[in-house]
């Protein structure tokens, strides 16, 4: 980043100054580190301290879930009946009874629309808020959040359970999540790669080794503070040790420490247990958690898969997430955003005995609730056959901008890529006022 500046507008000196603060030593060259280039990037209007992003890879059907069309012809309507919800006049699929009971905690967006009908492209779009381009890999929401939010020294800022499908992109590995790689199991202690001690290494042993390391690692002592890489290695080395040996970190990941009563609503499936883990992590101070529930690519046997497997899991896990956050007093400070990469075709295909639905980015749903978000409403509307938005429709970029805004991150704030190109957090989106408190 030694040479570029933005084409117009800000002064790179500000950017350098900010960078120097971040690196902890003035007058350093900035290497390839990305720096926030805009002043005023943190938006005091944001209400949330933390966020949970729930990705639904595969692309869930909108008609069979949160945007039912009971009056449409049967080849569109599908097999599911609808039920009333806690919010007057709003109906969900009959297989979402628990979410129907807590939809005063979130808003359903209907008629969200885009045009990328392939899984990888759609996921990149929805999981970053930026339409993908081969020129630039955009970062996941959590990675952007990790550039702005801080927490206790012995905790990671950003955790993915079990993994995030979107990486840190142009922000670089520094902003990658700590991935648990596995989901916790109900009532069992949870061993997290890198955090939990194992392989015969005890707390005492690692402590002794670390002392030895600190005494031996003196080669670069004289130049360490003047070198970004060496300084970073030292700093991250200390922090890693604090995390590994921290009781707070170990306990935050251990869902079995939660009381029986609190654990009860969380079913014994990986997604529900991940939701429980997310609450514990946020409670401990983790600022961003990504969860994932996959399997939505129901080209065949759409209804059986939804009814028997996917919807009960989503319904149970997500509703317990909202209720649990509320019980712990975290709901008003934690934004929850849930979305797949697209909706599914209104018309049921006939390739399998039962029928399925195919990729359909033109019309989809998204859910957002918790801190800073106006809750208990439906925004937007799809047309009579859920084939497209009835009116203008929501752009994924605008939803992403709203999500960032709720966290106090200005979606128009800019990063500089290593090649000097100014890139806003969300390239082409503005927060949706109706979605904000």
């Amino acid at each position: 980043m030694s040479w570029h500046r933005q084409c117009d507008g800000f002064s790179r000196r500000d950017c350098l100054r900010m960078g120097a603060i971040g690196a902890g030593a003035a007058g350093l060259s900035l290497g390839n580190f990305l720096r926030i280039s805009h002043a005023g990037a943190v938006n005091p209007a944001g209400r949330s301290q933390a966020a949970i992003f729930v990705e639904l890879p595969g692309g869930p059907s909108h008609i069979d879930t949160f945007d039912p069309k009971p009056d449409a012809p049967s080849e569109i309507r599908g097999k599911f009946a609808t039920i009333a919800t806690r919010v007057a006049g709003v109906r969900f699929s009959e297989h979402l009874p628990l979410l129907a009971g807590v939809n005063d905690h979130f808003t359903v967006l209907r008629g969200v629309t885009h045009s990328l009908g392939a899984h990888p492209l759609g996921q990149k779009f929805i999981n970053t808020g930026n339409r993908p381009t081969p020129a630039l890999e955009y970062p996941a929401y959590g990675s952007v959040a990790a550039t702005r939010l801080t927490t206790h020294r012995d905790l990671p800022v950003y955790v993915a359970v079990p993994k995030a499908s979107q990486g840190p992109g142009y922000l670089g590995v520094k902003y990658a999540p700590l991935a648990t790689n596995e989901a916790p199991r109900a009532g069992r202690p949870f061993n997290v790669r890198g955090i939990s001690l194992g392989g015969g290494v005890t707390l005492n042993e690692i402590g002794k080794r670390k002392q030895l390391l600190d005494d031996l690692d003196q080669t670069f002592a004289a130049i360490r503070r003047d070198d970004e890489l060496l300084d970073g290695l030292d700093e991250f080395g200390q922090k890693a040790f604090e995390m590994i040996t921290s009781r707070r970190a170990r306990e935050a990941f251990d869902v079995s420490r939660e009381s029986e009563a609190f654990r009860k609503p969380f079913a014994d499936d990986p997604f529900s247990q991940s939701c429980l883990l997310a609450i514990r992590l946020v409670e401990a101070g983790v600022r961003f958690v990504t969860l994932s529930l996959g399997g939505w690519d129901t080209h065949q046997d759409n209804f059986t898969k939804l009814k028997d497997d996917l919807l009960p899991k989503l319904d149970g896990g997500l509703s317990a997430l909202f209720v649990g956050l509320q019980q712990k007093g975290l709901l008003e400070s934690t934004t929850v955003f849930c979305s797949g990469e697209f909706g599914r075709t209104p018309k049921i295909n006939t390739r399998s005995a039962e029928g399925g639905r195919d990729h359909y980015p033109r019309c989809m749903f998204m859910l957002m609730g918790g801190g800073g978000i106006r809750q208990g409403q439906v925004l937007g509307e799809s047309d009579a056959t859920a084939a497209g938005p009835a009116h203008e429709g929501f752009k994924p970029e605008d939803v992403a901008a709203t999500f960032y805004h709720s966290l106090g991150i200005d979606p128009a704030a800019e990063f500089q890529t290593p090649s000097g190109r100014p890139v806003s957090v969300v390239r082409d989106g503005t927060p949706i006022p109706e979605l904000l408190v």
């Binding site: 570029h4 500046r5 507008g9 020129a135 596995e182 939990s196 194992g198 015969g200 031996l216 890489l229």
Partner: protein, 948 residues
């Protein structure tokens, strides 16, 4: 806000020129009397004045009769002159910020008014201003034109007041409108920008300067365009520049100021010496000035100008570790270190360099590098054969690796990629499919690797669009980031959107043909293959893929996509509806010509493979980028920073830190027949490369002039491999240069999760250490940064614990020997080692089960472990027998500490380090357990993870 310009009016009249000859370079020193600066000549330059080096040509700085004074002078008073859109109005709009990204340059426009971003689309800009009913230009009542009224705040302007009604800016716009708002009939060609001073050397933070810019047009006219230029500083900590060209000195160091006008970009070097005393001593100082080759002369010249003294020569041990890692991505084994240290011949360094260049590890490291550059992304090859794509990535990797090992000239290797054809010339489609099917099935890529062509570069799924191919090509082979121009004038270089589109034409003639669309000649073959498989393409979709995958597994020939070269087809997506219609009528299908990035036009004949002239152009001696890009990138791998940095941005606005050095390297590389090993040798043998990392009193903060070696984190693959190597058994520790099996360096593509099983599931480590994902056209796709997740991994990941203690590793073998009281290769020792090995594996399985929450499974593991432990206990000899004296034990510990240091850090421990390690190891009853801690600490030290 532009009022400050007025204070500069007439500044051109006060230039004073005092040429002073310094040495043989003919340096002109100039000052600006207006600023009250002392006249610097050779003597004066020591007393804190500003030294300027002027352009050698032309000599005159005085505004002569031919140079038109600047607009802010000409339009300050009443004049009959009508400004020109290209020369005055468009740059003025840029200067005022009108066509910036935040204003009317936004693709959404502002207030319904959109200008081309950064200008240069003259027609569109004039059309936008002339739009009927917009009132932006009112030819009848010039004063009412909104482009005058709004920015002068006579009418509300969201962008605020940009100039006042009595300003020259207002006058320029007004006169242009009054003159009929004439369009640009034929754009004038700008020859060059002349900037005075051509170089700035500051002495103190108080120093200032004014830039003056003269445009030399191809028609011979000259104009002072200072008030119409855009200025930027590439490092504002060293110098800042105001919008009017006023420069203020800052910190020590060197960088460039950049001047933009029309489509020209002119850099101006700016510097403030790091150490005046050292600079004054210059060549006389004598310290560390030895030269091992031409590189050192170029570097020294720059150091002298900045008052930098090069660091000392690196010691042998550090050199050995550095050069092994840089050339071959491999640590020297303990034996290598001993041998090198014992060798006292003067040419041992260069012999080591020659030796390393012949190792398989060299070819693996640099094949990985070229796979990054060319984008060997496994996922993007998934359509080629509907089949496991790892084999395709292996073909790509091995094709390159063979050529690296053979030291094929770089241009020939690139030719194999750029001019790749789908199949051998005498091969039928059926034969092609049969061969590909066999290779994909068996994983034996030899026929592909032996072939001249590497078509996979063109077959990546997300690179089918000519625009994306143009971006990718420019990145891979030219080291350029041209994608800005895909949508608008490039802000940091010469290309306009038209230039980009014209260049993209070169990439519209390569098609990746699906079997069902195969050309006529192949159709019979396609039908035969499909018929044999019972494949109906029309049914399409997932079923066909499944069928093909199964058929492939069953040993049948399946249809494969092939590369077809056609004439450059017109990209209809780029056309407006009217243009499309016109095209349909004309029945024109192909482009007539294309424009290369250097601006030259290449006529296309309808039958051409237009990649041919592209390749010829790459090879031209005066190609500004092809050779420079590769020598600069390879240089950057050795130094952690390019001569141009970032190395994939050879843009005009990002000049090299040492142009003479880059020019020499590039031109000599070409003269030497694009000989890559020559380049490696020349770099590694230089004094510049063999410089210590320890800074001296002058160069602690210099990061761009190669005055010292910069510590660099090891690349992801090398991190994984060196950990395995440092902890390997004595037997294996030596083999890493030769044996590529299980090395992360030999993972060909990007499906690194599939690399699980190889090298302890290297995929996870490769990801967190930032192995290139090869998804974007940016060298930054590979990350060399450090992160928390990395240090967590190094300290406590199960893979690391396992690797350090694995039974067939160094510590593991020692443990076995210790427990059996015998040498590991005795019969009893072997049996014990075998049991130990099983226990380690079970322990790892147990850890994984625990992570997965599979408690039952974990308990089963634990039970089996307990069983084996019992068995082991019975086999262990009586401890009394194995007792060694305290002295023997200390000797053993010391020799292990020495060995650990040689393996991990390539050097002996200092006495203090040895004592501290001793202290640690003596806390353990088992020497092996103590050693595991020492090895852990060394692997976690900065010295290990950094090449220095």
């Amino acid at each position: 806000m532009m009022k400050q310009n007025d204070s500069l009016q007439g500044s051109w009249t006060v230039w004073i020129v005092i040429p002073v000859v310094v040495g043989c370079t003919g340096i002109l020193l100039a000052i600006m009397g207006e600023l009250g600066l002392v006249i610097p000549d050779e003597r004066a330059s020591a007393n804190g004045a500003v030294a300027f080096r002027s352009a050698p040509e032309p000599v005159g700085l005085n505004p002569d009769a031919e140079t038109v004074p600047p607009v802010n002078v000409r339009f300050a008073t009443e004049t009959d002159e009508v400004p020109d859109f290209q020369r005055h109005v468009s740059p003025l709009l840029g200067r005022l910020g009108c066509n910036g990204r935040a204003c009317h340059g936004s693709f959404q426009g502002q207030g319904g008014f959109r200008l081309s971003l950064f200008g240069y689309d003259f027609a569109a800009d004039i059309a936008a201003m002339m739009e009927v009913g917009s009132g932006r230009i009112d030819l009848a009542d010039v004063g009412e034109s909104l482009i005058l009224a709004k920015p002068s705040d006579a009418d509300f302007h969201e962008g605020g007041q940009r100039f006042t009604e009595d300003s020259w800016q207002f006058a320029v716009l007004k006169k242009w409108i009054a003159g009929g708002a004439q369009a640009v009939a034929v754009p004038a060609k700008l020859d060059r920008l002349e900037v005075e001073p051509a170089e700035l050397q500051f002495r103190s933070t108080d120093d200032q300067a004014e830039l003056r810019v003269i445009a030399h047009w191809a028609d011979g006219s000259r104009e002072d365009v200072t008030p119409l230029c855009r200025f930027q500083s590439n490092d504002p900590s060293i110098a800042t520049v105001t919008p009017t060209g006023h420069v203020q000195a800052g910190e020590r160091g060197d960088s460039h100021l950049v001047v933009f006008y029309d489509n020209a970009v002119q850099p101006v070097p700016v510097s403030r010496a790091w150490n005046e005393a050292a600079m004054a001593r210059g060549a006389g100082s004598g310290r560390n000035r030895e030269s091992f080759g031409p590189i050192d002369g170029f570097v020294q010249a720059k150091l002298d100008r900045l008052g930098l003294v090069r660091s000392d020569l690196v010691d042998d041990a550090t050199f050995l570790r550095r050069v092994c890692l840089d050339i071959a991505g491999t640590l020297p084994s303990a034996a290598d270190v001993r041998e090198f240290m014992a060798d006292h011949s003067p040419d041992k360094r260069s012999r080591k360099i020659d030796e390393l260049l012949e190792t398989p590890a060299y070819s693996a490291l640099w094949a990985t590098f070229f796979c990054d550059l060319t984008g060997n992304n496994t996922q993007e090859l998934r359509d080629v054969a509907y089949a496991p794509t790892e084999t395709l990535s292996t073909m790509w990797y091995e094709w390159i690796r063979k050529r690296i090992a053979d030291n094929m000239p770089y241009d020939q290797m690139v030719e194999g990629i750029v001019l790749a054809s789908g199949r051998f010339s005498d091969q039928s489609y059926l034969e092609y499919c049969t061969e590909m099917s066999q290779m994909v099935r068996s994983g034996d890529c030899d026929p592909f690797v032996q072939g001249d062509s590497m078509p996979l570069y063109w077959m990546r799924r997300e690179l089918q669009d000519p625009d994306e191919r143009a971006n990718s090509f420019a990145h891979s082979f030219l080291g350029l980031q041209i994608q800005c121009a895909q949508c608008h004038k490039h802000p940091f270089d010469q290309w306009t959107n038209d230039d980009f589109n014209s260049f993209a034409r070169f990439f519209s003639g390569v098609q990746v043909m699906r079997p069902q669309n195969a050309p006529k000649a192949d159709r019979e073959d396609v039908q035969k293959i499909a018929g044999d498989l019972g494949l109906d393409f029309k049914k399409g979709g997932g079923n066909a893929q499944k069928l093909i995958r199964e058929a492939l597994r069953d040993g049948k020939t399946v249809p494969v996509r092939q590369l077809i070269v056609t004439p450059p087809n017109i990209n209809q997506q780029k056309l407006e509806p009217a243009e499309k219609q016109a095209l349909r009528k004309s029945r024109k299908r192909t482009y007539d010509e294309g424009r290369l990035p250097d601006g030259s036009m290449v006529p296309f004949r309808p039958t051409d493979d237009v990649r041919q002239p592209l390749m010829e152009w790459l090879r031209k001696k005066d190609n500004p980028w092809f050779a420079r890009a590769i020598v600069n990138r390879i240089w950057a791998k050795y130094f952690g920073v390019g001569i141009v940095d970032p190395p994939d941005n050879l843009s005009l606005a990002n000049p090299p830190s040492n142009a003479e050095l880059l020019d020499w390297l590039a031109s000599t590389f070409v003269e030497r027949g694009y000989d890559l090993k020559w380049l490696h040798r020349e770099i590694a043998n230089s004094r510049t490369y063999q410089t210590a990392w320890q800074p001296n009193e002058t160069n602690g903060n210099d990061r761009r002039n190669f005055s010292r070696s910069l510590p660099r984190r090891l690349p992801a693959e090398v991190v994984v491999d060196t950990m395995a190597q440092a902890s390997a058994s004595d037997r294996d520790n030596d083999r890493f240069f030769v044996n590529l099996e299980d090395r992360a360096l030999s993972v060909p593509g990007t499906a690194t999760n599939r690399a699980a099983g190889r090298n302890n599931s290297a995929g996870f480590a490769l990801e967190i250490f930032g192995r290139s994902t090869r998804t974007t056209t940016c060298d930054c796709d590979r990350s060399m940064e450090t992160s928390l997740i990395q240090t967590v991994y190094l300290q406590n990941d199960r893979d690391v614990h396992f690797m350090l203690g694995r039974n067939d590793g160094w510590v593991g073998e020692l443990r076995s020997a210790e427990k059996s009281g015998s040498e590991p290769d005795s019969a009893a020792g072997k049996q014990i080692a075998d049991l130990e090995n099983r226990i380690r594996r079970l322990e790892r399985g147990r850890a994984q089960s625990l992570e997965k929450g599979q408690e039952v499974q974990a308990r089963k593991f634990a039970e089996r472990i307990a069983g084996f432990e019992k068995q082991l206990a019975g086999m262990r000899p009586d401890p009394a027998v194995a007792t060694v004296s305290a002295e023997e034990r200390l000797q053993q510990i010391d020799s292990l500490i020495l060995e650990a240091y040689l393996r991990a850090l390539g050097r002996q421990p200092t006495p203090e380090e040895r004592d501290r390690c001793r202290q640690h190891m003596q806390e353990y009853e088992s020497v092996a357990e103590g050693l595991a801690g020492v090895l852990w600490a060394l692997i976690n030290s900065s010295e290990f993870i950094v090449n220095h």
